[in-house]
């Protein structure tokens, strides 16, 4: 409450006074600070490639005498800066098959071909040898900087491979009957079929090399087929979404992951968390269950048709084999924001606060609980507050085939705000207090109170006012106040979660084609700062 009062006063006295008051505040009673580095250019992580606009590091890296430093030097500089600010871990996005130009991270050389045409064999594949060598170099640089934890997130590779619906199949499809996604309803209702009136060409189904399903459009892989809202509220996406013929394959992916884990171990870096996809949304996409228990590509894991790949167990085994905690195999979820900064009065089908629906769904999915949407949800609350609440009918929700124990880590991405508005400092702080205040209830009902709590993404340490195209760097249409990070901490400190040990991991994206959001300077105004001079906004209690 005391902190909250201070923050409200800040609004009255203006930003300069606010910064002075809030910057000394530490995060809760026991906290750690990590940062997101986001996408890693492992193909060119060396001393020869320039960290310039051509390689998508237009302003994120130092420029000396008008010359951009090389990429590895850039990262070493930034890692040193982070370490000096109390950062004890980083999260990296790793592309295995990003074939976009310039090639920044491509571990497999036959991306876009069937899994049988690919293999993880750096001993005979010089491209892979160089790539994993650069991964090792990065872990070495991390250790040299004095940062000992890494979270590895496999990034979505672009969905650029395609096939006609008449060539596509789904797990629902009985073999030998000549069925396909163009002539049966074995595929999801939102499968694109027929002729696109805009182009007069047939609709295509698109695929990423690292997603075990298909999407509706070429691009970032987010337009997933089997969307419950586009499928007449069907929760059967796990069964009806297309099988990806371009999937890199589980054993190939496991090979690359195992190599990364081994390099972390050999550089004495702890793999704090391993996730093969981020921000899963099981309410809308039950097909994302294939990231945990895959029914679409068992042959690529050396199993037989009809088998299910227990990805959770396979990844846990890799972690154990490399000396890491298998309970840190995880998938992050998102908190749910609403137009009201303080509303948390609705209960979802999981008997939890509506704002916790993301982590609820994640916990349910991994334990063969219920995913999808319940048919008796309250649409009025969904319209007014953007929360899926109400109801108790799980009879038409989907249940995955395998079950595992919960991870020993909870990773929720939270950007507290009142949605659809230009926020004030008070709104951000109130929303943070509500978001963080609700989480202990989830930890209790999921019997996960001993888990490590990570706010795996949250507001960056220094808010940029720049625009990316027509959108602000932060949250699109609305410019958020410069005190947002401090408001975030203040709200947390006023919440029940502040009594837990929590790791904050503010967002940063160095490989940023726009080059405006995390511009590097050597001064205190650096947009990469999270706790410059120990002066906040994210000041951890633990080094």
């Amino acid at each position: 409450m005391c902190v909250r009062t201070v923050a409200r006063l800040c609004v009255l006295v203006g930003f300069l006074g606010c910064a002075g008051l809030s910057s000394a505040t530490t995060i809760g009673s026991s906290s750690y600070l990590q940062v997101n580095l986001s996408f890693m250019p492992f193909t060119i992580y060396d001393y020869t490639h320039s960290a310039d606009a051509a390689n998508q590091f237009s302003t994120s890296c130092p420029v000396i005498d008008g010359v951009h430093v090389d990429i590895r030097t850039c990262f070493k500089t930034i890692l040193g800066n982070m370490a000096s600010q109390g950062v004890s871990g980083v999260r990296i996005f790793v592309n295995l098959c990003d074939t976009s130009l310039p090639i920044l991270s491509q571990a497999f050389t036959s991306c876009g071909e069937a899994y049988t045409s690919n293999s993880w064999d750096p001993g005979s594949n010089p491209t892979q040898a160089a790539w994993i060598g650069h991964v090792s170099d990065f872990f070495g640089d991390l250790r040299t900087a004095g940062i000992y934890n890494v979270t590895i997130t496999l990034a979505d590779d672009p969905a650029v491979y395609s096939e006609l619906p008449s060539d596509a199949t789904s797990p629902n499809m009985q073999p030998g009957l000549g069925h396909n996604c163009g002539n049966t309803d074995d595929c999801c209702p939102d499968t694109p079929t027929g002729i696109d009136p805009a182009t007069m060409l047939p609709y295509m189904i698109y695929f990423s090399a690292t997603q075990p399903f298909g999407v509706k459009s070429m691009g970032d892989g987010n337009d997933i087929i089997g969307n419950v809202w586009d499928s007449d509220a069907s929760n059967q996406g796990y069964n009806c979404a297309p099988i990806n013929p371009f999937f890199i394959g589980w054993n190939n992916e496991f090979g690359a992951i195992n190599a990364m884990l081994a390099k972390a171990a050999s550089n004495s870096i702890n793999v704090y968390e391993l996730e093969t996809e981020q921000e899963l949304n099981f309410g809308t996409f039950t097909v994302q269950g294939r990231f945990m228990y895959d029914n679409s590509a068992p042959e690529s894991a050396g199993l037989s048709s009809g088998d299910t790949v227990d990805v959770v167990s396979d990844l846990r085994s890799l972690m154990t084999a490399n000396g890491f905690d298998p309970g840190r195999v995880n998938w992050s979820s998102t908190g749910s924001e609403t137009p009201s900064a303080t509303y948390n009065s609705c209960t979802n089908v999981y008997t939890d606060y509506g704002r916790n629906t993301g982590p609820d769904e994640m916990a349910q999915a991994i334990t063969a609980g219920h995913i999808g949407i319940n048919s008796d949800y309250n649409m009025s609350i969904a319209v007014d507050y953007n929360l899926m609440c109400g109801g108790s009918d799980t009879s038409l929700m989907f249940v995955l085939p395998d079950s595992s124990t919960q991870p020993d880590i909870i990773d929720v991405h939270i950007y507290s705000q009142a949605t659809g508005a230009t926020n004030t400092d008070v709104q951000v702080q109130d929303a943070a207090a509500t978001d963080f205040g609700d989480l202990p209830h989830f930890l209790t009902i999921a019997s996960d109170t001993s888990a490590a709590v990570v706010i795996g993404e949250t507001w960056g340490g220094t808010i940029s006012t720049a625009m990316e195209g027509s959108l602000y760097c932060w949250a699109g249409n609305y410019l958020f106040p410069s005190g947002t990070p401090a408001d975030n901490v203040a709200g947390f400190n006023g919440s029940a979660l502040s009594g837990y040990t929590v790791t904050f991991r503010p967002w940063m994206e160095l490989e940023d084609p726009s080059g405006v959001c995390f511009a590097y300077t050597s001064s205190s105004s650096n947009y990469q700062n999270v706790n410059y001079g120990g002066d906040g906004p994210y000041t951890p209690t633990n080094p």
């Binding site: 797990p171 073999p175 088998d307 309250n378 649409m379 038409l396």
Partner: protein, 254 residues
Amino acid sequence: MTTLRIATALNIVALASVSFASPAWCQSSASAGTLQVNVTDPQSRPIGGAIIRYRRVPKTVMVANTLANGHEVPAPGEAAAYGEAAADANGSLIVTGLPAGRYALCAHVPSAAYLDPCVWRQPIAVAIPANVTAPRVVVLSLGVFLKVRVNDPGGLLPQVVDGLWTPRKLTVGVVYARGAYQAARNESVDAAGHDYQLIIPVGVPFTLRLFSHDVALTDLSGAALDMSGSKIAFQATPGQNQAFAFRVSGAAAR
């Protein structure tokens, strides 16, 4: 706030001839539509007592949660309508006072093994215009009950029916086609074990799948099951429920 926003309506009304249901919402009747459903089997014989579950499918908008992702929710102004209605002895039901729009229908018949299209195929879509009665024939196929009994003499499974937050020490379901899966529900627990049930179609090649990291199972002959995903092949025939029984033989080897 729009008058189209209503509280969730759950109405099951059975009348002497045709069943009528009306969701509790407050749109004026001038723009309300009507859903008229006849439920039959594939031979066009009416199925009395069928329960139709209807929900209006809203347009959605993406709301921001994080920098990269949002989640979809019903768009502002979208009218809510959800409920259940029971067909009369002639398989007919009428739901009045529905806001116009696209609806998704699911169907089941209490105590009978008809297949719910929302589980085994896709929801049945029907457009209900304003001031119009939208007729729809819903054809339900008859399946059979799959019943799986798991005796648990050592009490190694949770002694309660699987709930939302109950640790799943055993999953039971069927695999079919190219890997599709449907879970059987844990219907009951008694002092000696657990009962699971699922309505399944006939004439479809299935494998019964039992999975556990926690317990080992045998069949009644004492043969051990592969708990990484047993593959017991079977195919149901009309009129004959499928029953299986197993026994928890101990904790799983780690």
